[in-house]
């Protein structure tokens, strides 16, 4: 098992190298350079020129790339021009916020999706199934950001039930911090979950329906297993296992969605940091974020493969 995981990880290495080169070249192509932020505004053009020279900005790109990678390995992601702060510190703070929101969304997603999918599959063709299918159909069609904007408008502004910006109320302290945090992530989390359930519900539903008509369920019936136990021991179990593997892929979706969620709810996480950095051309932050999101995507896929390998004996990795 460890061997297979190690192999998977080794296959990832060339992908990460390729990603880092791509990100580096994109960063080079962006307007501005890494010194725009850190140098003294009163320096003369000649001084800047000198600084660029000694910092290797005129070296061939592969030389520069190498230097950059070496810095990366020392945990040095560079300086943010906008915030005058080490990028690693900057991202650290925001990552905590994004993690809170993502984890919360994911928990909500599964809490909603699993029962809905199981229920719809069990009662295939009946009224509750139709209702669930209409729900998944509608949320599947509407673009995510439109759901967010309308959700914010209705529940944030019209009903005024939830805060519309920020991550924690600045006046909160003690236990209040936690409750304030929850208050802020409740609406975006719910809307994200509402959107995120769609695929899982549909997948789950068709898994349950397939399992229901499978031969092994017929075998179980002929063993005299009561209906509710057939659902418990055979159908639900067999349909849940492949779902477990969805977890890793959800990370990718959540990260991509975080850019919209955080911008619309002015939630200071990594997604919003990215948009801000783009607007200020703060490109050390941008490269760091793109690289990080790429690696997280990769880890998500890896996680999914590992989970699937563990839960399904047919492809069990040993």
């Amino acid at each position: 098992m460890w061997k297979t995981i190690l192999r998977r990880v080794l296959i990832m290495i060339p992908e990460i190298i390729l990603l880092s080169i791509l990100v580096f070249l994109l960063a080079k192509a962006m307007p501005g350079d890494p010194f725009t932020g850190s140098i003294n505004p009163r320096s003369s053009a000649a001084q800047i020129e000198h600084l660029k020279q000694i910092n290797g900005l005129y070296d061939p790109w592969y030389q520069q790339y190498w230097n950059w990678v070496v810095h990366l390995f020392h945990g040095d992601l560079g300086q943010s021009y906008q915030y005058h702060e080490a990028v690693s510190n900057l991202i650290g703070d925001r990552a905590v916020n994004t993690l809170w929101l993502s984890a919360f969304t994911m928990v909500l997603t599964y809490m909603l999706a699993l029962p809905l999918g199981l229920y719809a599959g069990k009662h295939e063709g009946r009224l509750p199934d139709t209702v669930i299918r209409i729900y998944t159909y509608v949320t599947y069609c509407i673009p995510f950001f439109v759901i967010l904007v309308i959700g914010l408008w209705i529940f944030g502004y019209v009903f005024n039930w939830f805060p519309t910006t920020g991550s924690v109320s600045p006046t909160a302290h003690g236990m209040g911090v936690l409750s304030s945090r929850l208050e802020h992530i409740l609406l975006p989390g719910l809307l994200g979950a509402l959107f995120g359930t769609v695929n899982i519900v549909q997948y789950m539903r068709s898994e349950v329906i397939d399992a229901k008509h499978s031969d092994y369920v017929r075998t179980a019936r002929s063993k005299g297993v009561p209906n509710k136990d057939i659902y418990k021991h055979h159908i639900f179990r067999n349909s849940l296992l492949p779902i477990a593997a969805f977890g890793g892929y959800s990370i990718t979706g959540l990260l991509n969605g975080s850019i919209f969620t955080e911008t619309i709810f002015s939630y200071p996480g990594m997604g919003m940091l990215f948009i801000d950095s783009i607007n200020y051309r703060d490109y050390t932050v941008i490269t760091a974020l793109v690289l990080m999101f790429g690696i997280l995507n990769l880890l998500g896929t890896l996680l999914s493969d590992i989970i699937l390998g563990i839960v399904d004996p047919r492809i069990r990795i040993d």
Partner: protein, 338 residues
């Protein structure tokens, strides 16, 4: 027939499926008895309703899309009218079932031991040690060489023959009085088939169970069964002991079927096989009344067929549906118009 030995008695059993809002009969008016220590074979080609009959007895149909009538009396109770909970006490305990495709009939995500002991969970009060011992005993009984190892494996790790043995182990776990085997060897190689049939015979000898063997393979029937019922288009057209049905087939369908088997002494290049004219109509197009096989024997006059065929006893225990057998004879092959 010995009343005491009678295990299952089917009277006028019919099953109809709903297709596009209308019911079409898949099994009609079947009368059958199975006794202890007896292998009853139900034989017929695909779509003749033999598997449907088995699943009807086991109550495995969705009541919303099937219509079932008649009686299937087992241990004094009519299985076809029993409540699901009561049926669950019989299924697996008193009646075991063996399926055709041994791979899909096992849950791919559960170990063999769990799948066998699941039957014991519901029908015995065994402790987990007792259950484990019984699983090993069963695996031994069905001829699995390394029962301890196999018990711990998953279905995909076993060969087709091994999987079928596991299915049999599940079916006999509670020593049922009746075993229904639905095409138990169709998916297997001939040598494995022979072994599986041996296992079935041994088990029967040991448990004194009755077996309903459903198959399309006339050879398997001739080698294994004591009694035979031949089905065509949902009806039993001929029944009797194996010796009667194979030694002196009466119904034109049985005779044609036996005749169309390849014979060893035929010339490779020039001898053709006998072919039954026409084909089995689909369930929607099947005539609802009259002799359903009549259109396929064009050289018998229509008047020779009974309007509504009934069973006729031609010898003790040997019955044929319709009197047309009296007019049936094989013509020379060249005369048979295809």
């Amino acid at each position: 027939m010995n009343e005491e030995n009678e295990l299952l008695k089917l009277t006028d059993v019919s099953t109809a499926f709903k297709i596009d809002g209308q019911y079409y009969p898949a099994v009609s008016h079947v009368d059958l008895e199975v006794e202890k220590d007896e292998i009853l074979a139900i034989v017929g080609e695909s779509g003749c309703g033999k598997s449907t009959l088995a699943t009807t007895i086991m109550g495995l149909h969705d009541p919303q899309t099937t219509q079932i009538s008649g009686q299937a009396v087992f241990a004094g109770q009519n299985l076809l009218e029993m409540k699901e909970e009561d049926l669950n006490d019989i299924r697996g305990a008193k009646i075991g079932m063996i399926f055709q495709d041994p791979l899909s009939a096992l849950n791919p995500l559960k170990r063999i031991e769990d799948q066998i002991s699941e039957v014991l969970d519901y029908h015995t009060g065994m402790s987990s040690e007792e259950k484990h011992a019984r699983v090993i005993e069963l695996l031994n009984q069905v001829g699995i060489l390394e029962p301890q190892r196999t018990a711990h494996q998953f279905p995909h790790e076993l060969s087709g023959g091994m999987r079928q043995r596991v299915i049999i182990a599940i079916a006999i776990a509670c020593k049922p009085d009746l075993i229904i085997a639905d095409e138990p060897t169709t998916a297997l190689d001939v040598t494995i088939q022979a072994q599986i049939l041996d296992v079935l015979r041994d088990i029967q000898a040991e448990n004194h169970a009755g077996i309903i063997l459903i198959t399309h393979d006339l050879g398997v029937v001739a080698e294994t069964a004591d009694e035979v019922a031949v089905m065509y288009a949902g009806e039993i057209v001929e029944r009797g002991t194996t010796a009667q049905v194979f030694g002196d087939p009466k119904h034109p369908y049985t005779r044609s079927l036996l005749r169309s088997m390849p014979q060893g002494d035929m010339d490779v290049l020039h001898d053709d096989l006998y072919v039954i004219a026409g084909s089995v109509p689909s369930i929607e197009k099947m005539p609802q009344t009259g002799d359903k096989f009549a259109p396929r024997i064009p050289w018998i006059k229509a008047s020779a067929h009974e309007e509504e065929p009934t069973m006729h006893e031609v010898a003790p225990g040997h019955q044929v549906r319709c009197t047309c057998y009296q007019d049936f004879y094989f013509q020379r092959l060249e005369d048979v118009d295809q």
